[in-house]
């Protein structure tokens, strides 16, 4: 990967009152690459995503977009650059229907009037392409299940022809088939040459689709690994911060028990 990265973060820091949530975080994502961002609960993954998406701008540090330094202070800035984000805490309007939510902030208009027909047609097309199953595109978001909302939120990120898609734990609330579909989707995005940042606690998912894994620990970088050449144990120890951790101890214990049988 010698080309300029689509997105590069340099020295990002962010604090909330007494909590230093991020300290000097670096991250690079290239076109056609899936970077998994992993870390334990509270490691700062969502906070990092929000600095990129303009929802919670960083206190310090530089964001470079295709090699140029940019300022992302509002969600609008990120959208204008081509950064689409699916948040962990969902960002859909309950009182607006599926079509309205998909196109929220980028409605199609004809002579200043919303073109509901075109939006509905495209919504159906999009949901169908992504094999997303919801009862109707005209019911309010409030009447969808958590997983269905998640798929709508993911579908929404695909609408604006983004250059970078950030998915914050997209599969956490999904069923077996939907999870597989989201992973398929991530791969399709990569094939289309987009950059993808995928946050997940599921190592199997990460190993399945990611090219590189960036580990955050207590708000700091704790290594970047090539998925093809790194073992799951190494990644886990980077996440927990030690080779001797709860996961390895548990493993040792269970294998000891098996040996004794």
């Amino acid at each position: 990967m010698t080309a300029t990265p689509v997105l590069a973060l340099r020295g990002i820091s962010k604090r909330f009152g007494a909590v230093q949530a991020l300290t000097d975080v670096e991250l690079e994502v290239h076109a056609g690459e899936v970077v998994a961002l992993v870390g334990d609960n509270g490691a700062g993954k969502s906070t990092l995503v929000k600095t990129i998406a303009g929802v919670g701008p960083a206190d310090d540090g530089v964001i470079e977009w295709r090699g140029e330094q940019v300022r992302v202070e509002r969600p609008h800035d990120a959208q204008a650059l081509g950064i689409a984000t699916v948040y962990q805490d969902l960002a859909l309007c309950d009182n607006i229907d599926v079509v309205g939510n998909l196109f929220l902030g980028r409605e199609i208009t004809r002579a200043g009037i919303l073109d509901e027909v075109e939006m509905e047609r495209r919504s159906r097309e999009l949901l169908e392409t992504l094999s997303i199953r919801i009862p109707s595109v005209r019911i309010p978001i409030a009447s969808l299940s958590g997983g269905q909302r998640q798929t709508v939120a993911i579908a929404r990120s695909m609408l604006g022809e983004p250059g970078l898609v950030i998915l914050d734990e997209p599969t956490a609330a999904l069923g077996v088939e939907q999870t597989a579909q989201v992973l398929d989707l991530v791969e399709r995005l990569r094939e289309r040459g987009l950059a993808v940042v995928l946050i997940s606690h599921n190592m199997a998912d990460v190993k399945a689709v990611a090219d590189r894994v960036a580990v955050l620990r207590l708000g700091r970088n704790n290594g970047t690994f090539d998925v093809a050449t790194t073992s799951q144990e190494d990644i886990i120890s980077a996440i927990t911060g030690a080779t001797d951790n709860a996961v390895t101890r548990r493993k040792a214990r269970t294998s000891d028990a098996e040996d004794q049988k």
Binding site: R74, T129, I139
Partner: protein
Amino acid sequence: MTTDLNTPADEPEPRDHAATTAAEADAGTGTTGTTGSTGTTSGTASATTEATHSATETASAAATGAAQPGSSAARPIKGAPVAPGAVAAIDPRLLVRERGFKGYLQEFGRKLRGGELGSVPVVVGLAIIWAVFQWKDSAFLSPKNLSDLSIYIVGTGMISVGIVLVLLLGEIDLSVGSVSGLAAAILAVLYVNEGMSEWLAILIALSAGAAAGALHGFFFARIGVPAFVVTLAGLLAWNGLMLQVLGTTGTINLDRDSFIVYLTSHYFVYIAVAYGVAGLAVASFLAAQLLDARRRQAAGVPSRPLSEILVRTAVLAVLAFAVAWRLNEYKGLPLALLIFLVVLIAYDVLLRRTRFGRKVFAVGGGVEAARRAGINVTLVRITVFAISGLMASVGGLFIASRIAAANQGAGTGNLLMEAIAAAVIGGTSLFGGRGSVWSALLGMLVIGSIASGMALLGIEASVQYMITGGVLLAAVVIDSVSRRTQRSAGRG
């Protein structure tokens, strides 16, 4: 989500939901989606009152998967790259709406049970109120009384339109009464005392109202002061400013042949005008609905069946021509009512069919979600408060026009409460994100009818206030209960 996986086993023929057109539905085979007002109703005066705010498909438990043997005519959308292994996106549990008028009634009943009451309570209430007053005094539904009522509601109704927008954001504007009084005072002083041109005076009065509203919006949206407090301060301050503007005179009379008085005193005496307006409204409503259905069919998305369009148009036609007939029995169509209806239609289009309206609903439904969608929440809020101020001053001018004067009492008393009550009684939710400008009309009809009926019966104002208070409480109770029902019906 896992449990509803639609395996090919329980769905023998993968159907393409998008391609299922109304034609197929009419043939009794499939799934017609009807969309509610958000989707298909065009900007025309949908005075038909079942303005439901959430779009919904479906109604009867019949005709699910198994009941559609004939729908083999699945036509995939051209050019839609379907993912490998994609099954048509239809949920077998989805209740399908039955065709024709019966399906329409069934869907209506289902919505009611689900708590999507919309304007149903207020229409029922209005019918009861009219029946009771007509029974007590036959002069109530007389052409003169109805004509007077239609002019009476305009002033406060205009103010209420602004309140509806503020309520949609989930906020409140307590300053509208004072702002309306201030606008009337500015107009009277500039036009009568200073001898300024009437048009310029009107323009300045309206701008002052909008500016006052924008100022409230700024303090609320930018500084973060609760809207309740900002507009409470406005209520006091603008009332003080009005008294100062009026000065020692107290009351300034507007001359009888000024444009401002003409606003509420002019009637289109030719009966052709009222009937013509009614006919035009009905025709454009029908045309818009048919055009929309055509476009939808062409695009392969569900559209309203013809029968439903005809029923809606018929209801509108009966209403429109009945009103026109009653008004023509007296002096004809009042100019003020015509202006009010045009304003209502304009705001209805603004709210439901433009980007701005969508933003208002989004902010009312979830501020953070709206912000993340790239909506400038601050700007939307300031704009809505400015509109509220503008409509307050428009209302103030209509009220001044009706009494042909600006006085120290303008904008005080229960004007504010009436404007807010009208919006809520008309069915706009106090909780934000749900409502329509037509509630200003419906709510004002209720309040105005009570006032005028009580006056006819010679009942004192004290009783009238208590009754209006009771109606408001009932409306809020209905709002709260229906919100709870909607939550449990998954439509919250």
